[in-house]
Symmetry: C2
Subunit: 106 residues, 2 copies
DNA sequence: CCTTTATTTAACATTTCATTTAATTAACAT
DNA sequence: ATGTTAATTAAATGAAATGTTAAATAAAGG
């Protein structure tokens, strides 16, 4: 599975999107602080965090028995770059198409 | 289901990502031309195209018995904007954090 | 009309994914 | 050592997604 695909898959779940949003807005948080907001059990959150970790969208560090999670900006950057590269190409194509039509029309 | 979630979900499948890429690079194509490259049956492609349509990532127009599909730039733009807004916020947070640490340190 | 071509819908089997409860691991405090 | 808290892993279950073949729909052409 290609990295960009993994990123999209990781963010295609509402719970995981909320987790990432929370980590971005509130900063580093222990796993336990993420469960209540999502309204599901701790094991479920733990699994979601694993998916996000494997997609490179969050990082984990230990602090005693707690696991502190943070958003990982490089993960978001990958998505931004993928999207941007496509948009750029697409808009370039449009310009070429326009030019071709102008020639035909003239 | 929120629009951005639908977009991510639509692009979390390898076949659909390939379809979008192909439409972006090659321009408008009939449904039938997308199946061979993906190595799956026409009905399967048709379903993927439906998902992409409902996510606003492609558009369809009729031409006789054929259905011509194109990538839809607004769809990509939504993803770009979502990602960018998070990155911006995140980087802003980093700056504020740095500033706070500097104050403490001084 | 009847046939052909392009695509979609239906029905069904299979796989994958998300969640829950129960069990396990790890750190810490008494 | 023992118990407690935080988190993850395991096992089981139900729901959703994906693919296939067969049937339905729709436009075009003889």
């Amino acid at each position: 599975m290609t990295p960009i695909l993994k990123s999209f898959a990781a963010l295609s779940d509402e719970t995981r999107l909320m987790i990432v949003d929370q980590l971005i807005t509130e900063g580093e948080l222990p796993a336990g602080d993420l469960a209540p907001g999502a309204g599901i059990s701790a094991p479920a959150i733990s699994r979601h965090l694993k998916v996000l970790r494997e997609a490179g969208l969050v990082t984990q560090r230990a602090d005693g028995t707690r696991r502190l999670y943070s958003a990982r900006p490089e993960g978001l950057r990958m998505i931004a770059e993928w999207t941007q590269s496509r948009r750029t190409f697409w808009e370039g194509s449009l310009k070429r198409l326009e030019a071709a039509l102008m020639e035909d029309g003239a």
